[in-house]
């Protein structure tokens, strides 16, 4: 079993990786949608979204829609770049493992 210690620590977490993977193919997604797709609790997801935001990987916009608060998440160009690097690094590890 291969373990990773030198991959981007921001992305190398189950929930944060899931969030970035969802956002990479979307223009924007609501917090509730991400919660539904990942199956995470609101509290845990909120913590991980904040970490991604603080790292500059995603943008979080809060607004009101039909009097209900809405939190929209969007991947940044830095987040997209880091995701590509993460996938490439992952590919290298798997290639090395299979040799």
């Amino acid at each position: 079993m291969t373990r990773f210690k030198d991959l981007d620590p921001i992305l190398h977490s189950q929930l944060r990786l899931a969030v970035i993977s969802l956002l990479v193919s979307t223009v924007s997604a609501e917090f509730t949608y991400i919660q539904e797709q990942t199956g995470a609790t609101a509290g845990n997801l909120s913590v991980q979204v904040t970490k991604l935001k603080e790292a500059g990987y995603i943008e979080v916009t809060k607004k009101f829609s039909n009097n209900y608060p809405q939190t929209l998440c969007k991947i940044t160009s830095l987040g997209r770049q880091r995701f590509i690097e993460y996938v490439n690094a992952l590919k290298d590890y798997i290639d090395k493992e299979s040799i």
Binding site: M1, T2, R3, F4, H12, S13, Q14, L15, R16, L17, A18, S21, L22, V24, S25, T26, V27, S28, A29, E30, T32, Y33, E36, Q37, T38, G39, A40, N44, Q48, S65, V87, L90, Y93, I94, E97
Partner: protein, 195 residues
């Protein structure tokens, strides 16, 4: 989804990435409304025009096609409201939407160019409609829509070469294979996916 502290294997990372990316693909499959709405509207307009032409002395039977103007408003408002309510917007959604808006603009330009000879517009509009239908089928990976797009090209040829007695029926026939059949299949697939 578990806490961040657990160390992931490569397989787990890949599984999460592919699972999450795949989940965002199904969104535009909920667009069967537009296929069914336009399919039935155009069947109604084309058959009405055909019957008015055959059975009455009406000078401009193509005038029934003016129904597509309120139809476009209905379609636009439905798409706008659905888009506002949607919790996620994917790049595939955007590509899908702009492909159809591009077709809509091309159709308006075609109607303006052909305004003096509206009775000959059918093969050209079918040929144009084939493009977004064909591309949409590939975007949502739905073969009936791909074949629907191909059928538009076939019926465009039928409409052009079949002559005035059969040619006008190519449009409603194309709607059956290009919009209505894929539309109902898509609707059924959505329903099954949600159950």
């Amino acid at each position: 989804m578990e806490n961040e502290q657990k160390v992931m294997t490569g397989e787990e990372s890949l599984r999460i990435i592919s699972e999450m990316i795949n989940r965002t693909k199904v969104n535009i499959r909920q667009g069967s409304f537009h296929l069914l709405f336009w399919g039935w509207l155009i069947v109604f307009c084309s058959l009405s025009e055909y019957l008015l032409f055959r059975l009455t002395d009406m000078e401009n039977p193509w005038i029934v096609w003016l129904l597509v103007i309120p139809g476009a408003f209905v379609s636009f408002i439905y798409g706008y409201v659905k888009g506002k309510k949607s919790p996620v917007h994917t790049y595939a959604d955007m590509l899908y939407m702009w492909t159809w808006i591009g077709f809509f603009i091309s159709a308006i330009v075609l109607f303006i160019i052909m305004s003096g000879k509206m009775e000959t517009v059918a093969p050209y509009i079918l040929m144009l409609a084939a493009i977004p239908t064909f591309i949409s089928g590939f975007i949502i990976k739905f073969n009936p829509l791909i074949f629907g797009g191909i059928s538009f090209w076939v019926f465009a040829l039928v409409s052009y070469f079949a002559g005035p007695s059969i040619g006008p029926l190519a449009v409603p026939a194309a709607m059956l294979t290009g919009y209505l059949f894929p539309g109902y299949m898509l609707k059924r697939k959505d329903h099954n996916d949600q159950v």
